[in-house]
């Protein structure tokens, strides 16, 4: 039987199973910690750093930290909020995020976080990198302009033999996530849809499924990201 531990988040006494991911433990206690690269049910990666919180006054990512007894966690200080905003702005500057023409707009987690923090403009100069769009696949489109390299698709999407269908290609500033032509050959419609939904941005799209939800009915049109956790 698992033991429960007591810890404190922003002054609130919380209870959760020992060894649970902090981000999940916080969710159980109706506290939302913003994240981009973390996805429930797949192993954490800690690549986006947005879930950085202060644990006993030291910064650490909430997705890769396990809760222990008497942890004192602060999720929101002015420095942390500014740090989070900076990371989001960096992502907007680093890629080509043209929200008005994106199929994922309104359902995009990166955009929703930018709405949450009311980011009107990036403090960094826009980089406008030269990126390509992979559209050879029969069911999927991989748009490298929008990819934030969070690796959710690599970690979460496997074909029926258990092999990953996404993989890193190239190196350094040219790093990109590609669709593997072999393992992705005969993927089902459900798996393709799953791949699109696991992507926090509009980098993985199922063909002929763009702009399917009208404006006003999309996920983040009226609801702030994380409000479903906080308002439970």
């Amino acid at each position: 039987m698992s033991t429960f531990v007591k810890f404190i988040i922003d002054g609130k006494i919380c209870l959760s199973e020992e060894g649970k991911q902090l981000i999940e433990a916080a969710k159980e206690n109706d506290i939302y910690i913003p994240t981009l690269c973390n996805y429930p049910g797949i192993p954490p990666k800690g690549s986006c750093r947005i879930c950085t919180v202060l644990i006993n006054n030291r910064p650490a990512t909430a997705c890769t930290t396990k809760v222990t007894e008497n942890m004192d966690i602060k999720t929101s200080t002015p420095e942390l909020e500014d740090f989070r905003k900076a990371v989001i702005e960096l992502l907007f500057s680093e890629g080509n995020h043209f929200c008005p023409s994106c199929e994922r707009s309104g359902n995009c987690e990166l955009q929703a976080l930018a709405y949450k923090y009311r980011i009107a403009v990036s403090r960094f100069p826009y980089f406008f990198p030269e990126r390509t769009i992979e559209s050879w696949h029969p069911k999927l489109i991989k748009d490298h302009n929008r990819c934030i390299l969070c690796k959710r698709c690599i970690r979460g999407i496997k074909n029926n033999e258990g092999k990953t269908i996404f993989a890193y290609g190239r190196r350094g500033q040219y790093l990109e996530i590609n669709i593997d032509p072999e393992t992705s050959k005969n993927i089902s419609d459900e798996l393709a849809e799953q791949a699109m939904n696991i992507c926090p941005v509009g980098a993985i799209l199922v063909k002929e499924k763009g702009f399917i939800t009208p404006i006003g009915k999309r996920k983040y049109d009226y609801n702030i990201i994380g409000s479903e956790i906080e308002n439970q």
């Binding site: 043209f98 707009s105 826009y126």
Partner: protein
């Protein structure tokens, strides 16, 4: 006692005029607005040149040619406060989608190789008349050319966002931005 009206100028650079259309979507509030402000150089009243110094300049669209840069610098000189209105002014927007393509390729596609032009331009001329504004190597957000004071995102920015921002700026009241009017699309 009548208060001095604030003076507003607006311009559309590399934009589609959608932000100006959204501005007109403030509907009957335009009657309240006209009590508070007067317009100077703007496509709304068709005044082509600044006739006096303005309090607020509203810029739609980024900079894609040297004329855009010239107009933007004129606005900076003639306005106390400059506002970037809409995605194109803020980050280049749709015109900036060409930034990943070399300029030469863009022009060749537009004037020589594109399916609608390849049969009608046998001499393969890319327009170069000195009267035509020179196109820049890429599309620049306004704040990378001059200092911009405020940013109102959206494609187009919601009319309520424009109204709330202008009203707060002109009257000095607190600016309230509800979540549903702060959008990028």
């Amino acid at each position: 006692m009548t208060k001095k009206k604030k003076i507003i100028a607006t311009a559309s650079l590399a934009g589609c005029f959608g932000c100006h259309m959204s501005f007109l979507d403030i509907d009957e509030r335009i009657l309240n607005l006209i009590e508070l402000v007067e317009f100077n150089k703007s496509p709304i009243n068709d005044i082509k040149k600044f006739t006096k110094h303005c309090d607020i300049g509203i810029i739609e669209g980024g900079c894609c040619n040297d004329e855009n840069v010239h107009v933007l610098k004129e606005f900076r000189k003639n306005c106390d406060i400059l506002i970037s209105l809409g995605e194109c002014a803020i980050m280049g927007g749709l015109p900036a989608m060409r930034n990943g393509i070399p300029l030469k390729e863009c022009l060749e596609e537009a004037y020589i190789n594109g399916p609608t032009v390849k049969d009608v331009n046998p001499q393969k001329i890319i327009p170069f008349d000195p009267d035509i504004p020179k196109i820049l190597n890429k599309v620049y957000p306004c704040h990378e050319i001059v200092k911009i004071d405020y940013f109102l995102p959206g494609c187009p920015p919601r009319a309520d966002l424009i109204w709330n921002a202008l009203y707060a700026l002109v009257t000095g009241n607190e600016l309230l931005i509800p979540y549903e009017v702060f959008k990028y699309d």
